[in-house]
């Protein structure tokens, strides 16, 4: 099995496991874990795309000229993607905290049901957007 096949398999494996966690799991935090896994999978794929056999890392060693190097562009992209992933994760966790305080549960279907109940309950001219934490 060449390194390419292994890496691609690893990337797609991570991606699929992450997708399973995001789609099939009912607990919101497990969905978020799945999201992190999906992002890791895609990052690995990006780096694997830029890899070249027996090429050096894209750092010039003290003034000597650049030998055969790995493609640096995907690495820059992955760096950005990792930080984006962390930003989204932080916001997601903040929302999880507030959802937990508001609804007391983190089960996706429960949250969806409670949200629908709350929307139907907001009758004509009922409380405006400021429905408050516990409505």
């Amino acid at each position: 099995m060449s390194t390419g096949a292994v890496l691609y398999a690893g990337a797609i494996g991570l991606f699929l496991i992450g997708c399973y966690a995001m789609v099939a799991e009912r607990h919101l935090i497990r969905n978020i874990l799945g999201l992190v896994l999906v992002e890791s999978g895609v990052n690995l794929l990006l780096v694997a795309v830029g890899f070249r056999e027996n090429a050096a890392a894209p750092i010039l060693k003290a003034g000597q000229s650049a030998g055969m190097m790995v493609d640096p562009l995907p690495q820059a992209l992955v760096l950005t993607a990792i930080v984006i992933g962390f930003g989204v994760l932080a916001l997601a966790l903040a929302l999880v905290v507030r959802v937990h305080q508001a609804y007391g549960t983190l089960d996706t279907r429960e949250v969806a049901r409670l949200m629908r109940v709350e929307r139907e309950a907001s009758g004509p001219g009922a409380a405006g957007p400021r429905a408050g934490a516990k409505s």
């Binding site: 997708c19 789609v23 099939a24 279907r109 969806a112 629908r116």
Partner: protein, 642 residues
């Protein structure tokens, strides 16, 4: 308004181009003015006078058209998105414009009298009436397919606005109408876009070139889209359910206008697109495979069915307005049938029937509104014996139903005679039989109408009723009078329809003041009416002069069935008016189309719930996954398949 004078007259001096612009400008000013003026009672009279002026302008335009001018151009034209929109009035448009403004004139006159003062928002109704007239004039004077469609939408939405004035049930009926009208409009929109796809332009000439350039399948699609789109407004058979409730719920004067003219806009558009531009031969050549029928004959059969079935539904109605509106749908069938026969006699008959129908339907509706104004209800089971209290309304209704039934001396007879003759000459015996059946149904139902309202025993609560005020009786009588005059001298009406027929193309119908002289038989109403009046008149005179020994007999000074009548016995027979007939044709009323309409409604509801359920499900990322897989398969296969 008489057009007897054929000699060239003073119209050369007037710059023709400004006639149509004056007409449109005046209509627009009137509509906006009435919206601003609002509820002043003089607003109604002002509108009536302005309609009169517009009639005069139309008369001058008629003179010009009569002397061979092809169409009256207008200065108003726009160039939008690479398409230019123009407006011009040709003979066909002029004919329908005459009817529109005429009907508006009488409706507005009727509405500005005492009846108007009792309405909640009469000012708004006058304004909406003016808006309707403006929209119809724009439609009738459209110069190309795009302005035709724009005029078409404006007319259907103006009609929707005027229908909602009736309050609760009227809004529901108007809503139902709006859905039909919108569906029809979208069909027309698709059709004109199809034409533009083939020829790249949207002028009337492009439609003609498109017809020849298209494959038969495309021409069939075009025909069906146009026929269905315009048929909805004309309430042709499968799309007719909305018209009766919508037109009867509208307040009195406006509903007279709607009944008389609004449905005929569909006929105008059908004639313009299918008869004038596409041509009856082209329609005739569109054969339906494996049958002897062609597109033209199919449409004729739809018109025939639309003639018969609504008339017998009208028979069963117990509300006067519903009865009349159902007849409106039926009469539409006559007109279309006449035009589609293809001979000059048929076309003239069809067009004249449009004119006649406008006069007697408006008169009938104004009469029924007068009854409602006085007696408070139009339910045939609640009325009776009003002849003694409202004689002039009775006379109007009588003349109206004679016209509606198509009997001499009224004008209805002439146009029906011409349609029958053209069907006979055109070799369509089956359609002729259906026409007769429809006329039979009409005669039965109109007798029910006049009997239940005016004849029979006067109810106790109607003892004190007075005749409708002059402002209501006068317009009715004039309309009925026009019916009688054009019945007595049909030449007058035929002069008008000549202009329209010349615009449609095809040969003209030689006619004289009294009627028509053809190789296969002629009709001279002067003689027919003369003899009729002469004989009846002489007989009545003799009885009146000689007899003279009559004395008033009170209604209850009577003896029936072995016992004396007293006030509390109600022997006026009106409920279930035709029991025998009902038993015979009862089983035929299966209301299949009503169930079809409800079926579509349920289908949309179920589909809506289905789609909402698709979104209400909690695990939405699954759909993303689903689409990615299907998409990859789709793109993958696409990639492999070159």
């Amino acid at each position: 308004m008489s057009l007897l004078l054929r000699r060239r007259f003073f119209w050369e001096e007037i710059d023709l181009m400004s006639l149509l612009d004056i007409l449109l400008l005046v209509a627009a000013l009137l509509a906006s003015g009435l919206f601003v003026l609002g509820r002043g009672s003089f607003a109604g009279w002002l509108a009536t006078v302005v309609y009169g002026l517009m009639l005069a302008v139309l008369a001058i335009a008629g003179l010009a058209l009569d002397s061979g001018v092809a169409f009256i151009p207008s200065a108003m034209s726009f160039e939008i998105l690479g398409r230019n929109l123009g407006w011009r009035l040709d003979g066909l448009g002029w004919f329908f414009a005459l009817l529109t403004v005429g009907a508006a004139f009488f409706a507005s006159w009727y509405g500005s009298g005492e009846w108007g003062r009792k309405q909640k928002r009469m000012g708004l109704q006058h304004a909406l009436l003016a808006l309707n007239v403006l929209a119809m004039l724009l439609l009738l004077s459209s110069g190309d397919l795009l302005s035709l469609f724009i005029g078409w939408e404006l007319v259907s939405w103006a009609a929707f606005a005027i229908m909602t004035q009736g309050g609760g049930p009227a809004v529901a009926a108007a809503y139902r109408y709006m859905i039909y009208a919108l569906a029809g409009a979208m069909a027309v929109f698709a059709a004109i876009m199809l034409v533009q796809n083939v020829t790249g332009g949207l002028g009337f000439a492009d439609l003609q070139t498109a017809i020849s350039a298209m494959s038969t399948a495309q021409v069939w699609v075009l025909f069906i889209l146009f026929a269905a789109g315009f048929g909805v407004k004309m309430a042709l058979m499968p799309f007719h359910l909305w018209q009766a409730p919508a037109y009867s719920e509208t307040p009195g004067a406006s509903s007279a206008f709607l009944n008389a003219v609004s449905a005929r806009m569909g006929l105008f558009a059908l004639i313009l697109v299918l008869v004038k531009l596409t041509g009856l031969e082209a329609l005739g050549s569109l054969a339906i495979p494996f049958t002897f029928m062609s597109a033209k004959s199919a449409l004729m059969w739809v018109a025939a069915i639309t003639m018969v079935v609504p008339t017998f539904i009208a028979l069963m109605q117990t509300d006067a307005r519903m009865l009349l509106t159902w007849h409106g749908i039926g009469q539409g069938g006559y007109m279309l049938l006449g035009v589609l026969v293809g001979t000059s006699l048929g076309t003239a008959g069809g067009l004249m029937h449009v004119f006649n129908y406008a006069t007697y339907q408006a008169a009938l509706f104004l009469a029924v509104t007068a009854v409602i104004h006085r007696a408070g209800t139009s339910d045939l089971d609640e009325l009776g014996g009003l002849i003694t209290r409202m004689p002039w309304t009775y006379v109007t209704l009588l003349m109206g139903i004679i016209g509606l039934a198509g009997l001499p001396p009224m004008n209805g007879f002439v146009s029906k005679w011409m349609i029958y003759k053209s069907l006979l000459d055109g070799g369509q015996p089956l359609l002729l039989i259906m026409a007769f059946a429809a006329t039979l149904g009409t005669i039965l139902s109109v007798y029910k109408l006049i009997h239940n309202i005016f004849l029979g025993q006067l109810r106790r609560e109607h003892q004190h009723l007075k005749e409708a005020p002059v402002s209501m009786v006068l317009p009715m009588l004039i309309l009925a009078g026009i019916g009688f005059v054009t019945g007595f001298m049909p030449g007058l009406a035929l002069n008008i329809t000549d202009i329209a027929q010349r615009a449609i193309g095809g040969d003209m119908l030689p006619h004289h003041l009294g009627g028509v002289t053809l190789a296969t038989g002629s009709l001279n109403m002067l003689w027919v009416v003369g003899v009729l009046i002469g004989a009846i008149g002489a007989g009545a005179l003799i009885f009146y002069l000689l007899g003279n020994r009559r004395y008033e007999v009170h209604q209850f000074d009577n003896y029936a069935g072995g016992h004396f009548l007293s006030a509390d016995i109600r022997y006026h027979f009106s409920h279930e008016f035709y029991p025998g007939l009902a038993r015979v044709i009862g089983p035929w009323y299966r209301g299949s189309i009503v169930r079809a309409e409800q079926g579509i409604g349920i289908l949309v509801n179920v589909a809506g719930d289905l789609w909402q359920a698709v979104f209400r499900v909690a695990y939405t990322p699954l759909y993303m996954l689903l689409v990615v897989v299907l998409g990859l398969v789709f793109t993958g296969s696409w990639g492999i398949v070159p």
